[in-house]
Every structure is written in C-alpha cells, then in structure tokens.
Amino acid sequence: MTVSELHRYTLSNGLRVVLAPDSTSPVVGVSVHYDVGFRSEPEGRTGFAHLFEHLMFQGSESLEKLAHFRHIQSSGGTFNGSTHPDYTDYFEVLPSAALERALFLEADRMRAPKLTEENLRNQIDVVKEEIRLNVLNRPYGGFPWILLPPVLFQTFPNAHNGYGGFEDLEQATVADCAAFFDTYYAPSNAVLTVAGDFTVEGAQELIEKHFGDVPARPRPERPSFAEPPPAGEIRSDHEDRLAPLPAVALGYRIPDPIDELDAYINYLVLAGVLADGDGSRLQQRLVYGDQLVTDVGAGCGLFGPFEARDPDTFTITAMYSPEVDVDTILTAIDEEIDKLASTPPDAEELAKVTARWAATLHKEHDRLVSRTLALGAFELLYGDPALVYSLPERISAITPDAVSAAAKSLRSDSRAVLTISPAPGAAE
C-alpha cells in the first residue's frame, strides 16, 4: 500500500489538521469532523444533530443558499455529510485544482453559517422525507440501528433514536441551532483532513489563509456516556406492518473501542469467524446446516467498527421464516458461541478473516473519500490517524485464545434481543 506520509499539526485556534499527500491521481479529498454526534443531543430534541448537519449546507456569510453545492459541483467535485453517534463529518472530493475552493467553503461555514428560520423549516421537511424514505415507508426501517439501542441501553444518549421523532424535529428553533453551533462547532472541537494530490507547504499556506482567522472558542467538555451492561437478557418485540418475514437482532456490550483497542479488535475477528463468508460458523450452522434463517450477519458497531466511543455494540442479526421459533435460533447461536468459547478457532479460520480484512482496508484506502474520512475519524477518536495503517497488522496479531475469550464474554444473561414481527396479514 502506498502509505501516505502523514503530517499533523494544530492551528492557533485549536483546529487539528491531518495532511496525507499522495499524487497517484490528480484529485483531493477534504473533510471536517466535528466532535459531536447524536449521543450529545438534548432530551426533547431527538434528531437535532442530524438536522443541524443539513443546515450546515444551507449557506454561510460568503455563500448564499445553494451556493455550497454549486461551487463544489461546478468545480467537478462531489460532497456529503453524515451524522454518527459521536461525531458529524462533512466532506468533498474534487479535482486537485479545486483544493482552495473546498477549504474556503469549509472555513466559511465553520466561521459564520447562516442559520435562518426559512432554511430550518425547509430542512425539517427534507429530513422528515428522509425518515419516511428510510424508516417509515419501508419494511425493516431502522433495523437494527434505531430499534436495538433502546433495548440494550438505559440512558437517553445511548438509547434514543438518532433520526429523531417528528414532534421533536418540528420544535427545533433557530435559537437551538445557534446554541448548538456555539457549543460544539468550535475549531478546537474539529479535525480538518486533506488527502490526495497536493504539496504539504501549499496546503498549509491555504489552510492558514482560510481557517487561521476562525475565532477560537472553548472546546466543550466531553461527557462520559458510560452505563452498566444489561443485568439480564432484555427482550423486546417491534411490530412492522410492512415486513413479510420476522427478524432478530442480538446486542452485546463490548470493550471500549478507544482505551482497549486490541480487546475491541478481538470482537472484530470474532465477528468474521462467526458470520463472514459461506464457511463461517453461523452461516454454516444457521443458513446451510439447520436452515433456520435466510441471512445472518455479525459485526462491531451499529454503523461499522471504529466510528464510536464507548459504549459500543456487538450485533448479530438474522432474518427467518415465520415457522421457526426465535428461541431455536438463539439456542443455535449460543451453542456456536459456546463452541468457540471452549475450543479456540483454528489458524486457518483466523487467516481467512485476517486476509479479508487486509483486502477490505486496501479497498477503503483506494477510495479517496473513505481514506480521507478514516484518517479524520481516527485523528478525532484516537488522536492518531496512522492507526489506520497499523490495523492489518493488529488484526493479524489476534490469537485464537483471544477470540475464544471474546466469544466467552458474549453471555446470554447480559444482552438485548430485539425481534421484528410482521403484523398479521399486513404483508402482501
């Protein structure tokens, strides 16, 4: 892999900067990660972090509404943003001639976004359509990312719906937006990442020119979202009138992804051994052997690994026939986990997982957008973007005994079990 030489530094206003030059293709990626996600939104304002992400595209002091999109696209670039449990990212990928433009656009909205009543009302409507599209009007909407957390977690930050309820979204005010911006969108609470075709000196100069005079504001205190794991097996059922088949999601608590990274990676490898590929344990047992389920998957994180702080979730999900009793599936899963807990996986099983992860990370690195975002997220969460490049080595260093120990910790007496039940006669 062409590992970019990484340059890290901090501007006088506290903005952290990561530069990863690589001249393979004449394109650049620019991202800004803000250290606030939907776990930080207040009660009564569910969905606010995501709604605010939409507003950040609606104009700033130098940019009328729609100008942000037009300037990026007329430079030949693409853009997006996304809201996660612990951070919100904004990014664009463009031909390298447009680097200064991208920096200008990100700096302008970090300095002085236009937060207006008209744009807020318009984006509340757009977000409601997004929720109708992705959750309310489709089967399995929000499964499991919205539906599992309230079963596994007790406290509002961890348990609530990050897309938000319509009644909460509708009550959002411009004053809420101003307070949220002033608290969380300080330069000292953000990471700027530039990856791709540029020179370090040239980029540093442009970054100072555009971000240097964004006024410093205090970095907000980051609260702990820690809470104890469930004291038993907590079950919950969700009736889905659009779903034709039942589904189940298991949620387990896992080690702190930041402070106990290697312990966390054990679970990543365990997920691979359990469910990655036709030869994996749960595919063999549940899909092809006992033929209990149509599909099964396992993984760390509700949106993937390395993108949340503690507490994070290990999930196993499956879709199954209405004739099958969910307890039969749970028993089979528990038996497979027990087997791994008592007998460590063999070397070839781990070699398969390790090689597939190496390939996955190469592919991620090859896509400039995912490379830029990974470097920014690792700077934000771990204070170390180079960790991205050490992951294949760390994954391949995991031992069979460590995977076995991870399996042993997935206890049926401390987990969430969410089932989706098709409403009787509703599906066609």
């Binding site: 729609l66 696209q73 680097l99 659009l242 398969k352 090689a355």
Partner: protein
C-alpha cells in the same frame, strides 16, 4: 457566550470572494490491453497499482425469452459458486478468503455478472476459482434445493420494498410483458426450478463468446491476459452468449397510479426514450440530463427539495441497454405533497424544453461531468465497473479516456436541442405508487390513470 443566529452569521470583515480554481494536472494515462481470446471472450486488463489488489468483472450476455428463464437464471446465479468436482461451497469460500478475495454472481434480464476482487498476490487463485465455476459448476441437488427456498424468502422481502414495487410497476407500464421486465422472478416459478434445469441453462448460456472480462489493479496487463488465457482456456463453445433483443420504443402515455394502501410516501418513476452512448447527440444529452436532475445542483433538486421540501432525494438518470437508452426520473414524496410534486416535475420538464440550460448551467454540468469521471475512476473498483458497463456496449478504455474531450466540445445550443428533444413532458410515461385514497388531488392535475 451566547450569540444569536444573526451574530453567528456575520463577521467584521464581511463576505469573502470565492477563490479561483488552480491549475489542473492531467490524469496519467492508463496502461491497458484489450484482447479477444481464442474462445471468443474479450478481456480488458488495466494496470492501476494504487493498492495491491485486483478487481474482476465478468459480464455474460444472458437474455432469454422462455417464461421460466428468469427463475432458472436466478437459481443459477445463487448456486454457480457452490459446487464443482474440485470444490464444495466451503472450499470456494476458503480458497477465496485466504487470498483476501470474494466473488459473487447476480443476474438481470440482460446479463449474468460475476464480480469480485482479491489481493494481487492471489490473482491466480481468483482466476482458478472463477474458471472452476465457469467450466465445472455441478449445481448439487441439495444446494439448489436450499438456495431455492432462501430465494423465495428473499424475493418476498424484496417485493415488500417500495422501490422494488415501483420499479416493477414502471417496467410493466412501459414494456408490458417483454423479457426485459422480468427483473425478479415469481416465487412460484422459482419453487419449481430443478437442478437439471439449471445445469442445462449453464450449458446453453454461460458462454465465453460475446462475454467480457475486465481486470483492473496491481497486475501487469500482459501478464493478466496470459493468466486468463491459461486459466479460462477450457471454457469453450462455438455458440455466442445471448444478447437482449432491442426494446420497443417507449410510448408516451398517462402516468399510472398504483395503489399501495397505508403508504406514507409516494414513489414517482417517470421514463422517456433516449439514445445510446455512441449517438453523436449523447454528450449533449448527458449534460442536459445533469442540468435537469442528474446531480444535486440541478433544477429538479433545487426546486422540489431545496425550495419546496417535498423530498429527500430526486434524480434523473440514463439507463443503457445494448441497443439504446431511456431517461428515468425518480423521486419519493409524502402523500400530502404528491400532487404538488407532480406539478413541479412537469413544470421543470416543460422548462427544460422552453427555457433551456444557460451558459452558466452548461459550464457547471460540464465541469461536474469531467471532474466526477476523474474521481469515480480513481479507484480500482470504480474504474473496473465503469469499463465493464462500457465494454458490454462494445466500447472500451479509449471511449472513457476520450470522453472529457467530447464533453468539452458540446455547445450551449446542442444542450438546448437535446433538452427540447428529450425532456419535453409530452414524451414521458411512468408510474406513481402510493396510497390512492390520500392522492385524490392528482385528479385535478390530470394525466394520471388509476390502475
């Protein structure tokens, strides 16, 4: 510190000017080989050693007019990688996994597509696994039986998705029962597919002649081609793979309202006849389409999303088949604003014809088309998929590298001609899927027939 939104939105210095674009460095040329092997398989290998991986895309023309073709083809795709004399399902997965690889097969009314990737060091294994499936798939009875059952459940789940319901309704409305509409077989047809049917279909239709294999990554093209010739030498037939026959032209007609009681959102799927990539008018049409709804800063998105808040996503795109292309206009809107959205979509279509894209709009879409081509082909996977899509239309890497010049040559007048010729509202047909009881306002607008 508590500032108002007004205070946040301005600084002492005031608005700043947009910086100009810098000097754009050109992409380095692609080193590639494009060759037809003795067995009739066209192989395109491109050297792009950005990461030590190899991406593979095989496209086999796979059309069939037998009413059972779609069901058999679906079972074939689900089981082609589950058994040969050398490998069972687990051995397929193990051999691929050990070289960081994956392969999967999907089928549609036009193509059987097998795609995947592996660490470049595992290139020979990847080819060996592919060759084994192409020349030796046995379709074991128990695998066919198992996949048949799972397919029936997956089809049931897929058919509950509004996007699938809408696509099926559009296909039927614009093409009747043409084989092109059979994108997802009936569960009852899948239920009666036997292993012997699938084996016969493989023998008759999984053929090298007329198929294309694209390889992009960290392998020298000459070595890649030689390796393919060696590995796939046993894949032989005198017959050619089965190309989808030309589709009938789309007939403009009323939109069909498909009732989905209880729906909280309506799916719009509109379509009109377009032209293929080799038509001299194509670059102008590509730009006109972008200006209408092909990217975020388009007329359609700025109107119905950013102004009206009717939708989260709206887009127009071109769908290519071997002999032509169609325009698609898609959006999803809440029931209460569905009629309003239809009014605006028709307005924007009419405006394309009557008030064509300005010079500034054309400049924007031109830059976007050139720039996004550059970014989307900068990864191995993106480049492989783009080349595979072109190759099946008979085009190659040259078409891709020359396309920026074609886009630069398009005039504002040519875009206006394309806008009038292809976007006039009278050229469209389509469907709206939603809760008809909540959509009575559509009657006032007309041009919509309830199913």
């Amino acid at each position: 510190m508590s500032r108002s939104a007004d205070e946040i939105g301005r600084t002492e210095r005031g608005p700043r000017p947009l910086p100009p674009l810098g000097e754009q460095r050109a992409a380095t040329g692609l080193s590639s080989v494009d060759k037809v092997l003795d067995n009739g398989l066209r192989v395109i290998a491109v050297h792009q050693p950005t990461v030590p991986m190899i991406e593979l895309r095989l496209r086999v023309p796979f059309a069939g007019d037998d009413p059972m073709h779609a069901a058999r083809a679906e079972v074939l795709a689900a089981t082609i990688l589950t058994g040969t004399d050398k490998r069972d399902r687990i051995a397929f997965d193990t051999d691929l996994a050990l070289v960081g690889g994956e392969l999967s097969a999907v089928v549609d009314p036009e193509l059987l597509s097998i795609g995947g990737n592996a660490l470049a060091s595992g290139f020979d294994t990847l080819l060996d696994v592919l060759a084994d499936a192409l020349t030796g798939a046995t379709y074991p009875d128990d695998e066919v039986e198992g996949e048949r059952g799972r397919l029936i459940e997956r089809i049931t789940v897929a058919r509950s998705q509004p996007s699938v319901i809408a696509r099926q309704a559009l296909q039927k409305h614009r093409y009747g029962d043409h084989p092109f509409t059979r994108e997802m077989p009936e569960a009852s047809d899948v239920a009666v597919v036997e292993a012997a049917d699938v084996r016969a279909l493989h023998t008759a239709c999984v053929l090298p002649r007329g198929s294309v294999l694209v390889l992009v990554g960290d392998v020298e093209p000459a070595r890649a081609i030689a390796a393919v010739a060696g590995a796939l030498g046993g894949w032989q037939s005198d017959k050619s793979a089965s190309v989808l026959p030309p589709l009938p032209e789309i007939t403009p007609q009323d939109l069909l309202l498909v009732d989905r009681p209880g729906a909280v959102q309506s799916q719009f799927r509109l379509s009109a006849q377009a032209i293929s990539r080799t038509d001299p008018r194509y670059p102008a049409l590509q730009l006109a389409n972008l200006a209408f709804g092909g990217f975020f800063s388009s007329r359609l998105v700025e109107n119905i999303r950013e102004d009206k808040g009717y939708t989260y996503s709206a887009r127009s795109s071109l769908e290519f088949t071997p002999d032509g292309a169609t325009l698609l206009v898609d959006t999803d809107t809440a029931s209460a604003v569905t009629a309003g959205a239809l009014l605006e979509i028709r307005y924007e279509l009419g405006r394309m014809a009557m008030v064509p894209p300005t010079e500034s709009e054309v400049d924007t879409v031109r830059q976007y088309a050139i720039g996004s081509l550059l970014t989307s082909t900068s990864s191995q996977g993106g480049l492989a998929s783009q080349i595979a899509a072109l190759a099946i239309l008979g085009l190659g890497v040259d078409w891709l590298t020359q396309h920026p010049d074609r886009l630069k040559a398009v005039t504002v007048e040519q875009v206006a001609e394309a806008a009038l010729e292809f976007f006039a509202p009278t050229r469209f047909t389509g469907v709206i899927v939603g809760d008809a009881a909540k959509l009575t306002a559509l009657r006032a607008l007309g041009g919509v027939t309830l199913q």
